[in-house]
């Protein structure tokens, strides 16, 4: 039976069919749906881990224990999981071990555009890259075969367009595999120097074998066509195919590390000119040049962003597409905090107080956009807290009194807690606001260790954030309701003034959670409205401005949260008390 499946769902199906038993991940766009889909299979144990390092180690533990296991993450998640990866590369596997990493060329939902192929080279593990949903399924299965045959972790590299495109997939049944026997083997699994030296020799020998394997690997294919030679992989193959069709012959590489020297040299012999088409860095291109193959690559195509069939057609064939141009200034439509979002109240106050805000990764990064414009820095998961600590260490007591860190509940557990320990242990008088909306929001509502539920929605142990913060040495911990902006303002002012570090937990569930019921829309009393514009400063998409300058509530969007009514000084906006 053929089914239309998201690349991520197809990866999950491939894992299922391959007899995978354990999946542990931390959510991250565009990789999240793999693990969400896995959670629907009863045959596979699945979990949301606190971060990618824990997920990778958990899955790898299951591999050492004899099961096929897997973890998924976005590109920046692999930075967090790099530590176990580099040494698992030495120890190898018992049951097959596969890591999926989803890059985000074009940065649809990320803070950088790193090319994860470098990790395969750096950690010396093989990497497969599918170019559509059918290959997502097939390569997930192949990855386990390679893992067990060559005694190595295998990375499955995805990208936004592969993960989030649907294509036709043929389904098969699951193969049930017995657990492999676990035999104590310190030379393989205890990576202290004497043993690791032996394993490094193994790793180098394995790489040579994998290079040879490239020529027979079913993921590497030549697709015959015309006289233009193209070497490519992943989504770039689809763009090239769209642009050049049968005019080109393609060497489509599915095993992208290690690259097969033999295949590339054999292919190169047949063409006068070869184009390497790969998004982001020039990895295949550099390999070709190093092996004496003259190719055209980054002098035509960019290191930046996504490719397109249009660009390939233009650069290689010199053909340009005609399209309609309308001479009109079109306002941008950036993403914004949702109507009823509990984060809005905190950012409204922080903007009002004009404090320095050390930001983090999540929905609340949107607090950086106008009109809230509250955030000064955003780097990576957890950096809000440790970054603020560093800021305060050099800028001193005055700075400590006018600066805060903001971080979500899931991000705090991921890697914020270690920064807070640093604040307590190394004594900076820093103020941290945990935006606890009871869910992992931006990636689409995953449970986390603070929510009290596991990946399957079953009750689970919940981290008590107040007790945790106190336990690491923060004495001043208080909870506020972010919709009560007067209390938020008071709490921020008091904690900034306090002579020791503090944590403010702004707690209210995400407005999109099913348990959160919308209230009737806010109403406007035009007679009381002085058109001062304060209500627009809360930055709610449900408040439009009329031609006369009055607020108009979009009743399809308004959740009746009432934040705007608190910003209005003239009582012109009212919460509808009926039916609450």
């Amino acid at each position: 039976m053929k089914k239309l499946m998201l690349g991520n769902d197809a990866v999950a199906r491939g894992l299922y069919e391959a007899g995978c038993r354990v999946v542990s991940s931390y959510p991250g766009t565009p990789s999240t749906e793999i693990t969400e889909a896995i959670a629907k299979y009863d045959e596979i144990y699945s979990e949301w881990a606190p971060n990618e390092k824990v997920a990778c180690e958990t899955a790898y533990g299951a591999s050492m224990a004899g099961a096929r296991s897997f973890c998924a993450m976005k590109h920046v998640g692999l930075n967090v999981a790099a530590d176990p990866l580099f040494t698992a590369a030495y120890s190898g596997v018992n049951g097959g071990f596969v890591i999926a990493v989803a890059d985000d060329s074009g940065m649809h939902s990320s803070q950088n555009e790193q090319d994860s192929r470098h990790y395969a080279a750096a950690s010396k593990v093989p990497m497969l890259e599918p170019s559509d949903s059918a290959e997502c399924l097939a390569f997930a299965k192949l990855a386990f075969e390679i893992s067990e045959r060559f005694d190595t972790p295998v990375i499955l590299r995805l990208s936004t367009r592969i993960s989030h495109s649907q294509g036709l997939v043929e389904l098969s049944d699951r193969v049930e595999l017995p657990l492999k026997e676990y035999v104590k083997n310190p030379a393989k699994y205890v990576m202290m120097p004497a043993n690791a030296k032996g394993r490094h020799i193994f790793v180098e020998e394995r790489t040579l074998k994998l290079k040879e394997y490239g020529a027979e690997c079913p993921a590497n294919k030549v697709i015959k066509g015309g006289s233009i030679g193209v070497i490519t992989s992943g989504i770039a193959y689809q763009y090239a195919r769209e642009a050049l069709g049968d005019k080109a012959t393609y060497l489509k590489l599915g095993l992208i590390h290690p690259l097969s020297e033999q295949m590339i040299l054999d292919f190169a012999k047949k063409f006068d000119k070869i184009y390497v088409i790969e998004e982001l860095d020039s990895i295949i291109e550099d390999f070709c040049r190093a092996h004496g193959v003259n190719v055209a690559g980054k002098e035509l195509f960019s290191y930046i962003g996504e490719y397109s069939a249009e660009a390939i057609r233009s650069k290689i064939l010199g053909e340009n597409t005609e399209y309609i141009i309308v001479d009109e200034k079109i306002p941008v439509r950036p993403p914004v905090l949702c109507p009823g979002c509990p984060h809005r109240g905190v950012f409204y106050v922080l903007n009002k107080l004009k404090v320095f805000v050390s930001g983090d990764i999540g929905c609340y990064t949107l607090g950086a956009g106008a009109p809230l414009s509250a955030i000064d820095t955003t780097i990576c998961m957890g950096a809000s807290i440790s970054g603020l600590h560093g800021f305060n260490k050099v800028r001193g007591a005055d700075w400590e009194k006018k600066s805060v860190a903001v971080i979500g509940d899931s991000t705090f557990i991921h890697s914020g807690i270690t920064g807070l320990i640093d604040i307590a242990y190394n004594a900076s008088n820093s103020t941290v606001i945990i935006l606890d909306n009871s869910i992992t929001g931006m990636t689409g509502h995953q449970q986390n260790p603070t929510t009290g539920y596991n990946i399957k929605g079953e009750p689970a142990a919940a981290v008590n954030l107040e007790a945790l913060c106190k336990a690491v040495g923060i004495n001043r911990v208080r909870v506020v309701d972010p919709f009560d902006i007067a209390s938020v303002e008071m709490a921020v002012k008091e904690e900034l003034a306090a002579a020791e570090p503090s944590v403010i937990i702004a707690r209210r569930p995400c407005a999109l959670l099913k348990v959160v019921k919308a209230k009737p829309p806010v109403t406007v009393n035009s007679e009381k409205c002085r058109k001062c514009g304060m209500c627009f400063k809360v930055g709610c998409p449900a408040i439009k401005k009329s031609a006369e300058g009055n607020p108009v509530i979009d009743t399809t969007l308004c959740t009746g949260c009432g934040l705007c009514t608190k910003a209005c000084k003239f009582d012109a906006l009212k919460e509808d008390s009926h039916g609450c």
Binding site: K2, L4, T29, P30, T32, E33, H108, S109, S110, D132, R161, H164, S165, Q166, G167, L168, Q238, Y239, R241, E242, S308, A309, E310, T321, E322, Y323, I324, I325, V326, E328, K329, I330, P331, V332, R333, P334, P335, V336, L337, C338, C363, T365, L366, G369, A370, P371, M442, T443, G444, G533, F536, K537, G539, P541, I543, K544, K545, D554, T556
Partner: protein, 190 residues
């Protein structure tokens, strides 16, 4: 058959993903190769969103590029204007007349363009405009805008109505089916 391309453009939260899934399932039923590309994560949250649907004998790229769409279904007027350069010469637009102000307009940093439908007409594009929000409300829920627009698009497609209805039944949760069938019909009869 040459590959055909449909684009669904709108504002995050308007239900463009569901619409693309219903279209995708109807096209598979007709025996086509199909690719659907969508956007998740940060790009939603009230931002400008686009979904691509491509179908034919064999589809390579899942992405529609400038000058490549046979049909653009715009869930909002400004988004119709934003994506107009993606329409193929001779292509058709289906436009929901609803206007949703983006944040720069709400805070007075930019103006919502006047007379968008006139601008589109002047550019020579053939379109059909529909007040899908009113029809969705008539069907029983303002969120059914997506299926009203789908109904109108279905009327202009070469695919039989029964195929669309079958896909709708298979894609939409049972408890919302009656509402969505009504919304589809209101769009289809327009």
């Amino acid at each position: 058959m040459a590959v055909k391309s449909i684009m669904i453009v709108g504002v995050g939260g308007q239900g463009t993903l569901l619409a693309s899934r219903i279209i995708g399932n109807a096209l598979i039923d007709c025996g086509y190769d199909v690719k659907v590309s969508e956007v998740h994560g940060m790009s939603q949250r009230g931002g400008s969103v686009v979904t691509y649907v491509r179908y034919g004998e064999e589809v390579a790229s899942p992405i529609v590029e400038k000058g490549g769409a046979d049909i653009i279904v715009a869930f909002e007027q400004l988004e119709a204007l934003r994506w107009i350069s993606y329409l193929k010469p001779g292509g058709k637009m289906i436009i929901n007349t609803q206007k949703i102000d983006p944040m720069p307009v709400i805070i007075g940093a930019a103006a919502y363009p006047e007379g968008i439908l006139d601008t589109i007409k002047k550019s020579g594009v053939s379109y059909e405009a529909i007040d899908a929000l009113s029809l969705a409300n008539e069907a029983g829920n303002s969120k059914a805008v997506n299926v009203v627009l789908l109904g109108l698009m279905a009327k202009h497609s070469e695919i039989e109505k029964e195929t669309w209805l079958k896909s709708l039944r298979n894609t939409v949760p049972e408890r919302f089916l009656e509402l969505n069938l009504k919304a589809f019909e209101l769009g289809y009869q327009k």
